[in-house]
Symmetry: none
Subunit: 133 residues, 4 copies
DNA sequence: GTGGTCTAGACCACG
DNA sequence: GTGGTCTAGACCACA
């Protein structure tokens, strides 16, 4: 059961993106275990006061990105550890990483600080094991 | 003089954002030095075949973000090292950083790989000195 | 006796369609001979952990398509070679064929490869003889 | 400009799928050339009397499948010949091919007939050249 | 009860 | 003018 889905309507980021980010986070940190059931579209729509169509869009995106899978008539479930990762997505993430680190550094953030956050984030994620380049 | 402004029209990211990212990158890596003159709106519009309004919006944003400053009638120039950094922007960047690292790690990227990229990016940026947390 | 009924719950295709496809395949390839008895609805439901209603719907469809026949109180049996074929179904199949071959070709599949698969499939099917256009 | 988009509301296949199939067909056969502009969402919605949201869904699917690309604020355009083809999609198509050919053969379609249709379809598609397995 | 499809209609960002 | 997002509300297929 998910408890923390925080939506900020004033945030310019689309609602369905915020939902995606939230759920991704829960999956990455292991708060949601593989094959665990996600709240149904309707249920989440009710608890968040977001339109079901918007929730559904977030779920469909998450499915096509391999984070969850859908069983017709049953619901949505957390996908097991990803296998065939889209190399484009990896490059995209590395680009985002470089841009963020570059700007942080330029704005005066201490190197030690950045590295520490990166390491903490890594150690908190990937509770399922499995390595790849 | 700027030579590499790469715009991808197919990219869903707005063009003015792509321009901002490009110029930020040039400033962060020191390819553009403090107080160096940027190409005029008109000039950049011509060389890139982008609508001048779009260029202008990018410049306006960069100015309000403290990356460049405008001298009316003269043109736009690279700002010196930033002083009063918006703490909200820093938090935003840290969030982006955490999300990207988390997802990379989850998708199987090696920790060594991530750390290496972070360190390389840091060492390549901030040629102006000055540290802050 | 049927041994291989592979159901993938994650597949968006309805379960009863998957069952139909499976059984059709077994009939077409001759793994199930004419007048051979199919497992009962109850039995198949048990071995596959699928709702009996779902199995029944698949059987009903297969009967109306002429692949099996039902003897009330006895069970379901493989129909002998089809005689009066629904011409609409044939047109439908030709359309599917054209669409699949067209897309394969467009996506770069070698002509030789496609033809080979088609010929292999033909030679492996229709063990009962009987030709029609 | 597209003229022939035939939608059959009685067809159980979802409308957006019919639209996708139609446009795919036009692209595969070369009726729509690479980089040619597709009708806008609104325009196609009007000429077909289909809701714009439904058209948009079809377009988004086509984009994620690599058949078209979207330029924000400009419209949708036919993608050039596909490069990195999803191997899962190829397998899916081969499966569809096998199933259709198998059933056709079983229903009595002449082998010569099937092969002829396959060859005609291949020769009519892929006007851009380029081979792959 | 679950997700999937579709419509009508609105507002916004972009260029 | 273009696509993108969001809502409200409806109906259907599936299990």
């Amino acid at each position: 059961m998910i408890s923390i889905i925080a939506i900020d309507l004033r945030n310019p980021k689309p609602i369905y993106e915020q939902i995606k980010d939230n759920i991704k986070q829960l999956i990455i940190t292991g708060a949601l275990k593989p094959d665990e059931k996600l709240p149904s579209v309707r249920e989440l729509a009710q608890t968040t006061s977001i339109n079901p169509n918007t929730i559904q869009k977030a779920y469909r995106d998450l499915e096509s990105d391999g984070f969850i899978y859908t069983v017709s008539g049953r619901g949505n479930f957390v996908a097991p550890s990803p296998k065939n990762v889209d190399s484009k997505r990896l490059e995209e993430l590395y680009d985002i990483l470089r841009a963020a680190v570059g700007e942080l550094s330029y704005l005066g953030a201490a190197q030690s600080n950045i590295i520490e956050i990166v390491q903490n984030t890594i150690s908190r994620s990937r509770p399922q094991g499995g390595n790849k380049t």
